[in-house]
Symmetry: C2
Subunit: 227 residues, 2 copies
């Protein structure tokens, strides 16, 4: 479902060229659960943004569900992003003036869901991440780990078939992380595809395949043989 | 040096009272290295903000280096914050229009250091956290872990005697985390005081004392007997 061929992403800064990604060839089948690891600055978030159609590569081709993404028009891209993909950002990106509930309900506005149903579904998924008592809070009235869970809830509310999560447990204690990983396992068991960036080996172990980046390239790509 | 007596911090939201901290009595001597742990939402960042004089308690008293903080005027508070304390925020709080170098040099502006020396010292500490090649980048041109390290460098540039770090390795891979913890150990060895919030037991182990919070209270406070 995710088919990257010779993908590169560079930035030009004055005289310098920074190759955030050099050449990435990666194939992820529908229903896989992949952990993406690598040192700070190795290109993980850049790769996630490309997979999530939030950025375009400098070179190479990207086929999502068989369609070449660079050939899609804006409407098609917006549709794919909204329906197929749920994105948990490393920096959360919540809207500061909206409550947790309203933040989580946002993707359903684009999906044309009625207001009553939006708030019901948002409340339901916030409850699943342990935030039933915090729905009215704005982001600055929440702890770091609570904001992270709101970002996760927002990514899940539209029941996407592809979940892209960039460090979803970076601000969570062990017990809360285990709850969240349990939720991810349920989502995966329903046949969905998950790509998860993490720097913790414990968390990566929930996936069945680990792709490691180094300096913008894939250093290793291993399927776990343990069940 | 950090003496909290019956500290409480509540928020009023409509009819509800949220007790982020119920009653915290905690004494940290100069030169200690303390890890602060606890579930998401248990009050760790709230406690760090109070210790760092960035927030005032709803009840209780706080003595910093023997002086009662609530009795200090704004000038005294600003001075303490700038000279004594270095703060690494859970959300980094970098200035988006300034480069990494300028962000790190900021505290030295308040300290009245000359421009040449500011940039030299900022460059030096950025090099120590592995960001020599990223000094000209703005925060949005950096990876998550790079931003985290810029926030750390900024907290250290004024050589504070008290370092308060809220999840300083949350976005870092294992190797980079180990480098950063090595840096913290050096700072501690020079006689400085460190309070470090982390959710990772591996990281907490670098400290010699672990304080655990739960629902706004101290659940346990243990000095490690292993060297
Ligand atoms: N401005 C506010 N208004 C209301 N409640 C707040 C406000 N700020 C924080 N809280 C609540 O206070 C509690 C403690 O928050 P705090 O940020 O200290 O937690 P934490 O231990 O740092 O959590 P985390 O590990 O998730 O970062 C949380 O339950 C949070 O929802
Ligand atoms: N807009 C930009 N301009 C220049 N360089 C950039 C820009 N955005 C990112 N970079 C660089 O690209 C590289 C890859 O960044 P990326 O955010 O993908 O890393 P990462 O693997 O997610 O790191 P982390 O684990 O720290 O989050 C970094 O070295 C970063 O400095
Ligand atoms: Mg990243
Ligand atoms: Mg916190």
């Amino acid at each position: 479902v995710i088919d990257l061929r010779g993908i590169g992403r560079s930035y030009v800064m004055g005289q310098e060229h920074i190759h955030a990604l050099s050449s990435i060839t990666l194939n992820i089948a529908r229903g896989e659960y992949v952990a993406l690891m690598g040192p700070s600055g190795s290109g993980k978030s850049t790769l996630m943004n490309l997979i999530g159609c939030l950025d375009s590569p400098t070179r190479g081709a990207y086929f999502l569900s068989g369609q070449e993404v660079s050939r899609m028009n804006d409407r098609q891209l917006a549709e794919v992003r909204n329906r197929e993909i749920g994105f948990v950002f490393q920096t959360f990106n919540l809207l500061p003036r909206l409550s947790a509930l309203e933040n989580v309900a946002m993707p359903l506005v684009y999906a044309g869901v009625s207001r009553t149903e939006r708030l019901e579904r948002a409340a339901e998924v916030l409850d699943r991440v342990g935030l039933a008592s915090r729905m009215r809070h704005k982001p600055n009235e929440l702890s770091g780990g609570q904001r992270q869970r709101v970002a996760l809830a927002r990514a899940l509310v539209n029941r996407p078939s592809i979940l892209l999560a960039d460090e979803p447990t970076g601000n969570l204690d062990t017990k809360t992380s285990i709850d969240i990983m349990g939720l991810f396992s349920d989502i995966h068991a329903q046949g969905n595809t998950i790509v998860l960036v993490t720097h913790e080996e414990e968390i990566a172990r929930y996936a069945h395949r680990i792709v490691r980046l180094r300096d913008g390239n894939i250093e290793s790509d291993q399927v776990e043989t343990m069940p």
